[in-house]
Symmetry: D3
């Protein structure tokens, strides 16, 4: 039963996050594999698989929220990569993070932009 | 000189937020009109006027962040309206708020959805 | 398929939150019933149904987190009721909220305690 | 023994917050008087009674933090009054709240400013 | 006089946090020993010494809150150890952290779980 | 025209943050120089340049807010330095951070104090 959501979620995770997503799941194996299973099933199997919003818009929403929350640097790094994977340009991602200065303050935007810088450097996009 | 940013910001505020945006600015007049001036100049004159990201994507980012932060219900209400004004559908906005359950938890998503419900009711879109 | 998680979640929601939980789900019907469905399936069908921790401990964790986060008053109200429903005493709940002064500051603890007061008054436990 | 901290705290609470502080303590009596006791002893008996920083600076710090946190409107209201009581001018308080737009975003600053407006109206200072 | 709270707090800190708690206090000595003193007196001397809630439940509340707040990794590490010290099992602690995905989102739960993993590895419990 | 705000902001940034402020701006050059430009123009050109509050009080407000928010360690480091630069004593800064235990909890105050310790060590003020 769970299998359908898990399979759909795993495919969506691979499509969006690639290797980085799988590494997160693997790193949970020794401590709480069920958190890995739920991460595949609910966010990816249920939410990102929904038809009502394109993946590019979904990643814009996620990058915005993770930048604004401020305590999610590892997840922001995964989703800056994900945003690039699903068709956002580097400039669009920078605009989203920049805009967060308005809603969450300059420190959140600055810390978010340094995560963007790190990802772009790793992908030779800087 | 500030005039240019102020004029551009006021036009952008009117385009995005309509009457609701002007009400926020007016409500500051008796206490701190300069906060109203900065709200027009920086978010709207500087950020929303930038060419690198379309307004629909900008509002998706803002609705996501305000839902995730959780303590911004009045601003979320303004920006659910703004998202509708710049071309997001009600269903797309619901998807963004729903997705925040993943990143900020179910309470933030639930409280955000009740703001969406209020706006849609006011606009006879429910 | 989803049916099993949904049925298990609905039974758990009824056991823990009673009528208040159902009201939250119903209030989503006009705007985003899928958020209601996920609320039943993931928190209640998946998490609260897990065997590794008793419901009393789970509600202590939830009351602590919702008090500390500070922007979740409606959900805290539901879970103060839930904590009472699954066997926490009013005094134990007060201790948990009081303890949050240490981790999230006095304002969060004070605002949480006023939610406790409201619930206890409604249940004639004050 | 606790008595000393309690007595010193009560005097400091009265000096800073006046009647509003006492109302907070009283409102806890029916539900958790110990939270009231700790509120008097630790923040007021221990912290605000320390000699290393003047009360005006302490209230500037508190107004800034409560505005930035965003989920502490009732406490912000008490401390806008407190800031006025210990010698801050209305304009100085507005500057502190306005400055929070930089560090916590415009929504936090706007919501904080509306609390300032409410207090100034109640004190006929608008 | 403070002596009583300090002595009781120090004993409670030793009981709960062991060496890790003492290291936190020591690390404050060069910069602000009074913060160390208050940490012993208020959280440990006042709150954790109260009779109304067992230490196991108190640590469940603390682990939940620190995971949900998201910006308290060093303190979460101390309190995952503390929870183990006062009788929580590793599996119970994992359940608490996992449950925070519901209330504070998956990033907070994931980051919390990696702290749990680190502690369990250090204690050869993985 | 923006030039005036930029020039005034750059002078104020230099006065307050010294070399550390310039390093933040420079580190943005490869990824999003406009965020650097806005950081100079809005916080420093607009806000810190306002006459209604002295710089010492402004830095007290900023140190308080950044400590309370909890996810802004790099910015807190810059502003502990800034507070010292504009005339706050080390003891006053410690008082502000200590006071945040009341409003944002002990973990935020502890993490803030360790940033203070780091800055004071770098400036041989410990």
């Amino acid at each position: 039963m769970t299998t359908n959501r898990y399979q759909a979620g795993l495919a969506k995770l691979t499509e969006i996050d690639g290797e980085a997503g799988h590494k997160v799941i693997e790193s949970l194996e020794g401590v709480c594999p069920d958190l890995g299973k739920y991460t595949i099933e609910f966010p990816f199997g249920d939410i990102y698989s929904r038809p009502g919003l394109d993946l590019r818009s979904r990643e814009i929403a996620t990058v915005a929220a993770l930048t604004a929350l401020g305590h999610c640097a590892p997840q922001l790094k995964v989703h800056v990569n994900a945003a690039l994977n699903v068709g956002c340009t580097a400039d669009e991602i920078k605009e989203v993070v920049l805009q967060m200065a308005v809603y969450a303050g300059f420190p959140a935007a600055l810390n978010g932009m340094f995560v963007v810088k790190e990802v772009l450097a790793e992908r030779d996009l800087l």
